[in-house]
Symmetry: C2
Subunit: 419 residues, 2 copies
């Protein structure tokens, strides 16, 4: 292929390490000036592509790009904007191809989760049909850890580490006060449909009595009497009870324990409040003094305590995506293949986007303890490798030295396309 430009875009909920993937992409692309001209990044993901808002990354120094490795959030902006089927959103797909044509973009790298893999896959087909040679490669990312085929989704290991540490630390606090103060602590964690993050909290303790005493998974219908009995038992046996509850927990009738009532652009219900809802049930039944925490965005942006394994993987899938693009591997995605549990070892291998897109990976049944309130050794073996190592950011004046890029836009060449 003749020399052409590369377009990278971030999609969906950002993570503590999505910028590490961006770093991998940009640093690698810059190593091939004979093949890749400009490295563009879409402003706010696919919305920026549709609007022809393309950032020219050449204005950012190698040091600034390097600093993406340790900067959370999405450095170019991300979005919640789903391209639906080709029938419904044909104009959008055509516009993306038009923008790529106008800016000689022949490599498109889309960094996201399930929906993004699907979009990238469809785009690879549309471009062909519209006569534009566009190599579309997915870059995996999601704290939900629900992408198919890959051993782990970049971004997940760092959330897992943060939640395991937070569970441990808060439990030490509660334990030391339980005699005369708070006896039940509830930590609400993210995970809309799959309990991967909730499961990670289980790493905080190993022995009987160590926290968390109860994990509430979205995979296990919430049975109030059984839950309340387990809380009481923990308080009586250990003096306190730490409960980790997934935002996606539902009752036996399938209703979320707490629904904010609003929906996002993908039609997903916006959740929040399972933690306080659970805490209130405990108070009403047992009268225990309780506290609850909802870590919300703190958990997925906590770059200050990111997993080194996760950061390394995130960089590597970015690197691999560029190499796949240059090799002409259209509609592919670099994924992680585990080769050893302990120590955790892996290779970056290649999957077909069509095999990844829209297959949600659930938490395996054998990861959940028989009583439904904890994790098994199989889960522990899977999770432990992913939180290894601390990839601390540099600090200036007591705070992490996170980078802000220039994000200078390229001149537009097309007419407006309102989104």
């Amino acid at each position: 292929m003749p020399k052409a430009n590369l377009l990278y875009a971030q999609s969906g909920g950002v993570t503590a390490t999505i910028n590490a993937s961006a770093c991998g992409v940009i640093e690698t692309a810059r190593k091939f000036p004979e093949k890749i001209g400009h490295v563009f990044a879409a402003r706010n993901g696919i919305i920026g592509v549709l609007r022809e808002e393309l950032i020219d990354t050449r204005f950012d120094t190698p040091e600034a790009i390097r600093a993406l490795r340790h900067t959370p959030g999405g450095a170019f902006g991300s979005c919640r904007f789903k391209l639906k089927s080709m029938d419904k959103d044909r104009a959008h797909y055509a516009r993306v191809v038009e923008v790529c044509k106008a800016h000689n973009i022949r490599y498109f790298l889309y960094n996201g989760g399930n929906d993004s893999a699907d979009t990238t896959h469809k785009l690879s087909q549309v471009a062909q049909s519209l006569g534009h040679d566009l190599i579309c490669v997915g870059v995996p990312k999601t704290i939900d850890n629900d992408l198919a085929l890959t051993d782990v989704c970049p971004g997940f290991g760092s959330v897992a580490k943060y939640i395991a540490i937070s569970t441990l630390e808060a439990s030490l606090d509660v334990l030391s006060m339980a005699e005369s103060s708070t006896k039940v602590f509830v930590l609400e964690v993210m995970g809309r449909h799959a309990g991967w993050i909730a499961a990670a909290a289980g790493l905080a303790g190993k022995k009987d009595g160590e926290p968390p005493h109860i994990i509430l998974f979205p995979e296990v219908p919430f049975e109030e009497p059984r839950f309340l009995a387990a809380v009481k038992s923990a308080v009586e046996r250990f003096g306190y009870c730490t409960v980790v509850v997934s935002e996606g927990v539902r009752d036996v009738d399938g209703r979320f324990l707490a629904e904010a009532g609003t929906k996002d652009a993908f039609g997903h219900v916006q959740l929040g409040g399972a933690g306080p809802a659970i805490a209130e049930k405990v108070r009403a039944a047992h009268g225990y003094k309780y506290h609850w925490a909802v870590s919300d965005y703190l958990q997925r942006s906590a770059r200050h305590i990111a997993s080194k394994v996760d950061v390394d993987i995130s960089v590597k899938v970015g690197v691999a995506a560029v190499k796949l693009a240059l090799a002409g591997k259209n509609a592919t995605m670099p994924i992680v293949k585990r080769t050893s549990d302990q120590p955790y070892r892996y290779q970056i291998v290649t999957a077909a986007l069509g095999d990844v897109a829209n297959h949600e990976r659930k938490l395996p049944k054998d990861f959940i303890r028989a009583d439904g309130f904890g994790i098994t050794q199989a889960a522990r073996t899977y999770l432990e490798g992913l939180i290894q190592g601390e990839a601390y950011p540099p600090y200036v004046n007591g705070l992490p030295d996170y980078v802000t890029l220039k994000n200078r836009l390229v001149d537009k060449r097309l007419s407006e396309y309102p989104v």
Copy 2:
């Protein structure tokens, strides 16, 4: 004074660094075997003293004691149990003295906040009147940072650092998604009566437009229309709005925005829910998509990102307290005297407990910006020194290697005293 035993107790809400003070106390006490026999620690604070539940720390190795420097929570247990006036609780005070007599305890070190300073002060008087030579020394500690005289309260610097970092990180997340998703992020922080922790969030940004865009202090009555206008203005100017709200925020009539309705042993109202309450007001008025987080105990137990300055201070007040005790300085407390802002420098000096007890230090008026929604340069100058340095704990297998002590109890010598 002839050789005697020392009793150390932890009181009130624990912090990420109260065990660092315990480390300072025990390591220093062990250096004076000719003066100090056993170093006892009360199990669960003053409750353990009343129950004669004394831990003999000699069963813990120097390595275990050393590890207290990096272990959050209260290693011996703490409590919320306030000794009231000497008239009302004379029996309790007498019992404490009786326990000290029975175990040849002539040094009593009480590690806590305002209430504990008061208790220690009263105890020093009661012991005298009951004819037991008991040197009572306070060891300061409270994340609320509301002790009088001292430049800072051990434990506060680490919460300040955690909250500033969390505000920065979550804001980077929100900023990158704001075009098509969450526009308003609300972080609820601790601080019942004083806005010290809320103020620390202000360190996350310096320039106009940097987060947090709005801080809601307990010192500033909440005016809803003015707040909602400020949110709208931030969203329109910067694309998003980060709000940090203290749990202790009250409306113009003095009502907490969110009251859980329960009270703790000190008669304090248990708060929680100002964050979601604020978020809901924003949604109702503007319809912006929002998220909220309540960090609760996570903020005060986050030893993984403790301030090095705070850890150092916490150890040093423990060391100084033992030295004060050995010097016979009854009814004193080591406190921090600032000698330089930048770089932050300080000395450990001595205060009279009577001057510290029950004087609540409020956030100075000139620390709050004229509009009531942010911090001034004076606040920044005060706060910045306190979050300097990272005192990372050691990690094993991806998690901090926090220590659990043996906590072996001494044989009782007295009759039961039900508490």
